[in-house]
Symmetry: C2
Subunit: 205 residues, 2 copies
DNA sequence: TGTACATCAGTGAACGCGCGTTCACTGATGTAC
DNA sequence: TGTACATCAGTGAACGCGCGTTCACTGATGTAC
């Protein structure tokens, strides 16, 4: 989106993109409103035509992240249908794929310290995303005998936690990145063992 | 440690403690050298008698965290002996307990963006900590039939990831904290399902 | 026990910096006639 | 088609702030004699 003279044309989006790049490069605290404005080719004051301030800009970046995230999860879910198991596995993988492909969004969503309830739009987008994972878990849980069936919300939380942990520790040179295994392999095998533990996958695989 | 006149007495430790409190209260980016000095009852310049600068102070806080962490894991491991399974489960639980009891240390270690290789002392402490978890995994792995035995480093990574994910998402009012389950319950049940998947725990529990 | 002196932990003033935010303004755009 | 005018996106200067860091200093402590 080239700058065209005095009026930018699409400054709002340009600012969000600059913010995402900055967050990706320098982490959530390395992001500054002034630097984002500079990268968009504009004075810091211009930002206030489109956002209430620094926090509001991060919130919008996070919101867009949740929308993309929810779309990806939804698509992954549908790809696995009609198999409940395949759908569940696919949403787990989609989590890691999202973190890889949209690192700026990921950080804005999960590491910027922004509250999910900062704006109604942000809360709605976040709810839509977690709804997909819960739906997949719900459907999967019907394949477990009722008397030994854990609550669906519980194992959707387990998968979410394992996925998040793998992203934080084993991508981007984090604390555990000297591991000999790729994040993808770790998550794939981890989910595999977990689902075997639920009795949903044959003990040999 | 009361201030005693012109000379503080134990400023180095007081600064680390102030830093930990600040990090706990305001997050890693909310921590400032000046504020830590103020809380220790001292001028910002005094900090430079004991640390090279801001980063060095965080690194020391993280190092102390890894030492405590390694001690706790070691202790948990020994508590579970001679049962490999009990030891492994105990180290998983110790992870969450550590995050709860030492939130400042936890954040300094895993969320401050500090590199583990910043100082040799920090790297050594971190290695000792991960060594305990790997030892537990190694020992546990001997109870799995060799032909279907995954590498020990792999399931120590799984447990680490799940623990870390549970802490990040389900403690401290994070993204998933509206969950009806406590972090402790989630981790306990998650590890349970996982170990069942490894064939180390009877299918009914 | 008393005095001189070396040590060094902490002071306080100063620095340059980049930050988020405000304000009155200017100039490009698009619409009404 | 041409002109007058309203709109409003972006400017640029200014603000107060707290930051990390430096420096020459001061005064408390502890040791040698």
């Amino acid at each position: 989106m080239p700058k065209r003279g005095y009026h930018h044309g699409n400054l709002r989006e340009a600012l969000v993109e600059a913010a995402l790049t900055l967050i990706e490069e320098k982490g959530p605290s390395g992001f500054t409103l002034s630097e984002a404005a500079k990268r968009a080719g504009v004075t810091p004051a211009a930002v206030y035509r489109h956002f209430e301030g620094r926090e509001d800009l991060i919130a919008e970046a996070a919101r867009q992240g949740y929308e993309i995230f929810a779309d990806l999860m939804e698509y992954a879910y549908e790809t696995g249908q009609p198999s409940a198991l395949a759908s569940f596995e696919a949403t787990g993988r989609a989590y890691l794929a999202f973190a890889r492909r949209y690192p700026g969004h990921y950080v804005a969503m999960f590491e910027s310290g922004i509250s999910i309830n900062r704006t109604p739009e942000l809360a709605m987008a976040a709810n839509r995303a977690s709804g997909v994972l819960e739906k997949a878990a719900e459907q999967l849980s019907e394949h477990i005998p009722p008397e030994k069936r854990p609550p669906a919300a519980m194992f959707s939380a387990h998968i979410w936690a394992m996925s998040h942990g793998v992203v934080e520790l084993f991508t981007r040179g984090g604390a555990g990145s000297r591991s000999p295994f790729s994040a993808e392999d770790l998550l794939e095998s981890g989910i595999g063992v977990y689902l075997r533990g639920l009795g949903l996958v044959p003990p040999d695989g």
